[in-house]
């Protein structure tokens, strides 16, 4: 099979699995998960073959795997769609294939496959546990299997299709199709437990918020198409003439060039999808969904897709950049990215829900990537995207495993505590060793623990780039965010795994099944090793031993290869200080938290802590600014005034005019004229009949006489006419 054919086939197995599960196997849990995991495995295997072949091509950037077909006729030509694997897509494909497969396997264990059905479980609610009796006659409460097991795998399959489609497509339109399919699946999976009002609200919030970005993104795509006549990446982003033309023509909006305005519009799509400030509000709420969903959609793949898209359009964003002076669109990105990175990191410090901390961490890390891209650090952004997908996927899966373990304890002890609240945990390292060690590796990668974790190398490259090109404001912001990242990560690890159990449930927590720990181990390997491919060549010591091929490989996607930044000790030192300092502080503050004790930072920070805990009141502000006015407009204006008063009034007016017109016609036309004529004819016939009635005597002889008289009279007339009138 040629590589191009293989690439065309890659997204299809999950889609097939989706249809098969929905149509045929949705009553059979085993068949459903075999189909879904099997499909993910097939796509994974194909992706690895493609990835291996891509690595063997010497100049993949110039001669990528590219295949197109004519799709939609547009006048004399066709709108073409196709698949493309260049260095960037190859890198993305690699982590997508791995994380998707691992998360599919994890979902089997997460949804308690093999456990009995729950006593009171209902569809649309998380499983509540089942009562079983062991051989000694003791009753236990154990986790019960998810009531809508097959449905989960069907949606996940559809999602995987969307993600593969997005990564492999060679144009912005099919990318957008994949983007929206993922948006739909995100909605469906956040609202997976739809009987919970909070899950319903979160699903709607996620869908509506990302829709704001998507509308602008679609505008950008349309603008790009009208400006260039194509949406294929290679024709626009690998074509200096087109880029130059777009950069030089003015859009007439705020003094932006056409390229700048298109880039800005597309970037707004990313703000929605990758949950950047000010559209970040949906991602933390999205944690209402099952944890594999949070890991796959809301950490590793879908939110990464937003960043992938801006990386993809980077040539357009940077068109017109000269001598390292960044374009206006890029400065917007740098600002939003850096601001989001710091902003979300501060919120994460004050969250107690283990998944919410990670959600804000994801927002913050995506901000890093956006900021990196905003200052032109193309390779660093891609690098961080790849490593982040692995370690954040790992952290989410780890948190799911922790929640699962604590839930087990909750069921066992019957204690009523929130299994997601870190304050109810503690001391889990002994109960759940595999989860602990893998979570530790993931957490260290997130904090940028020096030298051996992936996060260190990718984050360090962003720092180095920001410092080398003199973007000190971005540099300082990101360094502060990194300090907070290390702090809240260590806070999370300390509260969850270290110290002593703070509740009975945590005391009885249990390590999860192999289907959940295996993905943790695999992703932990990547969380460490994925960084080694990107070690700068001039890094002291290691750079000589293990020079990473990543920079050369990824920057081959661009027409002009970007020069790697020269090594400077200052950003490295900063990175070491913030990572280690943050981790140490986190451990120092949280190592002695007792049960029922409030967060140690609550007292010293005071009002600031409340502000952070309530996420700067953004939900309340948006509720006041947008949600309530929207309700007001729809209820008071649209429904009451416009619909009921104006439209209904208009319709009622038409109706009453019609009625009065009808009765006028009836009274003045129909009744006197039409009816009168009809009656007149009938009455006349009756009168004539009455007039002639007397001669109808019924006596034959009289008729005969009449006939005789008539014959005689007519004979006389004829005789007269024939004889005399000649």
């Amino acid at each position: 099979m040629t590589t191009e054919t293989l690439i065309w086939l890659l997204p299809l197995p999950p889609l097939l699995a989706f249809f098969l599960i929905v149509l045929f196997t949705n009553r059979n849990r085993t068949l459903s998960h075999i189909l879904a995991v099997g499909a993910a495995l097939l796509s994974w295997a194909g992706s690895m073959v493609v990835f291996a072949r891509a690595l063997q091509v010497e100049f993949l950037g110039e001669t990528p795997f590219h295949s197109v077909l004519n799709w939609m006729p547009t006048g004399d030509t066709f709108f073409q769609i196709g698949v493309l694997v260049d260095p960037l897509s190859a890198g993305i494909l690699f982590f997508v294939a791995w994380t998707v497969l691992m998360i599919f396997i994890y979902s089997v264990g997460y949804h308690n496959y093999g456990q009995p059905e729950g006593d009171h479980d209902r569809k649309g609610l998380p499983p509540h546990g089942a009562t079983v009796q062991d051989e000694h006659g003791h009753t236990h409460t154990v986790p019960s299997v998810e009531p809508m097991y097959s449905r989960f795998f069907a949606f996940s399959g559809l999602f995987a299709f969307g993600m593969y489609l997005l990564v492999l497509s060679n144009n912005l339109l099919t990318l957008f199709v994949g983007w929206e399919i993922m948006g739909l699946c995100s909605y469906l999976l956040i609202g997976f437990w739809y009987a919970k009002p909070s899950a319903r609200a979160a699903a709607i919030k996620a869908f509506m918020t990302t829709r704001v970005g998507d509308v602008f993104m679609l505008l950008g795509i349309v603008y790009l198409y009208s400006a260039t006549g194509t949406l294929t990446y290679r024709d626009i982003f690998y074509n200096p003439e087109v880029l130059q033309r777009l950069a030089e023509s003015s859009s007439g909006f705020l003094g932006l060039s056409v390229a700048g305005l298109i880039g800005l519009l597309l970037f707004i799509g990313t703000i929605g999808k990758s949950a950047q400030w000010p559209l970040h509000v949906w991602l933390p709420d999205a944690m209402e969904g099952p944890t594999p969903v949070s890991a796959m959609i809301h950490a590793a793949t879908m939110v990464s897709a937003g960043v992938y898209m801006v990386i993809r359009i980077f040539p357009l964003l940077s068109a017109g950049m000269e001598h390292g002076v960044i374009t206006p669109t890029m400065s917007v990105m740098a600002f939003i990215g850096a601001f989001t990175a710091l902003f979300a990191a501060t919120i994460a410090v004050a969250q107690n829900d283990i998944k919410r901390v990670l959600a804000y961490s994801t927002i913050s890390q995506l901000g890093y990537m956006i900021a990196a891209l905003g200052i032109g650090a193309y390779v660093a952004a891609t690098f961080h995207l790849i490593t982040h997908a692995f370690f954040k996927g790992l952290l989410f899966l780890g948190s799911g495993s922790v929640i699962h373990g604590v839930e087990h304890g909750v069921l066992h002890t019957g204690e009523h505590v929130d299994p997601q609240d870190m304050m109810n945990m503690g001391g889990l390292r002994k109960k759940m060793p595999i989860t602990f060690w893998t979570f530790l590796l993931g957490g260290f990668a997130l904090s940028g623990f020096p030298v051996f974790t992936a996060g260190f190398w990718s984050k360090d490259e962003i720092f180095a780039d920001a410092f080398a090109h003199g973007h000190y404001a971005v540099f300082i912001t990101l360094a502060l965010a990194a300090l907070l990242t290390a702090f809240y990560t260590m806070r999370q690890i300390t509260l969850t795994f270290l110290g002593e159990p703070r509740t009975e449930a945590a005391k009885h927590a249990q390590e999860t099944s192999w289907t959940m720990t295996l993905p943790l181990i695999v992703l932990a390997i990547f969380a460490v090793a994925a960084g080694w491919v990107g070690i700068p060549e001039d890094f002291p010591g290691l750079g000589f031993l293990l020079p990473g091929p990543l920079h050369h490989f990824i920057s081959g996607t661009l027409v002009e290869e970007l020069a790697p930044v020269a090594f400077h000790p200052f950003p490295l030192l900063t990175s070491l200080v913030v990572a280690l300092g943050g981790l140490y502080l986190g451990w120092l503050v949280y190592r002695n938290v007792r049960a029922e004790q409030p967060d140690p930072l609550r007292k010293p920070l005071g009002a600031v802590y409340t502000l952070l805990e309530n996420k700067y009141y953004f939900d309340e502000i948006y509720d006041f600014l947008f949600v309530r006015p929207a309700y007001w407009v729809s209820e008071t204006f649209t429904s009451n005034w416009m619909d009921r008063t104006l439209f209904d009034g208009f319709l009622h007016g038409i109706a009453s005019i019609t009625i009065s017109l009808g009765s006028a016609l009836r009274n003045y036309i129909d009744k006197p004229l039409v009816n009168g004529f009809g009656d007149f004819v009938g009455e006349s016939v009756k009168k004539i009949g009455q007039l002639f009635r007397p001669i109808q005597t019924g006596r034959v002889q009289q008729y005969m006489i009449l006939a005789l008289v008539s014959v005689a009279a007519f004979s006389a007339l004829f005789y007269y006419l024939l004889v005399f009138a000649r």
Binding site: R693, Q696, T697, G698, R699, V700, Q701, M704, I705, L708
Partner: protein, 102 residues
């Protein structure tokens, strides 16, 4: 040979007698008999015109025979009807059979 006009006068007289019978009699059977007389007057005319016209065709005779046949059928039907009426109403007076009169 007896001139044609004699036959015609005779036929006319017979017709008038028949007509008088039809108009003047109450009994339906008598009316029927009047009708028969009128038909036979016509037959006499037909045969007489044939005899005094060209002798090649037999049209007059054929017509006369046809009229006999039809009159016989008519009498059969008419008498049957009168018997039927008589059984129901016990009368055959024409002016008493007025059920269809408005």
């Amino acid at each position: 040979m007896i001139p044609l006009s004699w036959f015609l006068i005779f036929a006319a007289a017979l017709f008038c007698i028949g007509l008088y019978g039809v108009l003047a009699r109450k009994n339906a059977i008598a009316i029927l008999m009047g009708v028969e007389l009128m038909l036979n007057a016509v037959n006499i005319n037909l045969v007489a015109f044939w005899r005094y016209g060209s002798l090649e065709g037999i049209t007059g005779q054929a017509f006369a025979v046809m009229v006999f046949a039809v009159a016989a059928a008519e009498v059969a039907v008419g008498l049957a009807l009168f018997i039927s009426i008589y059984r129901r109403r016990n009368t055959v007076a024409a002016d008493e059979i007025d059920m269809l009169k408005f």
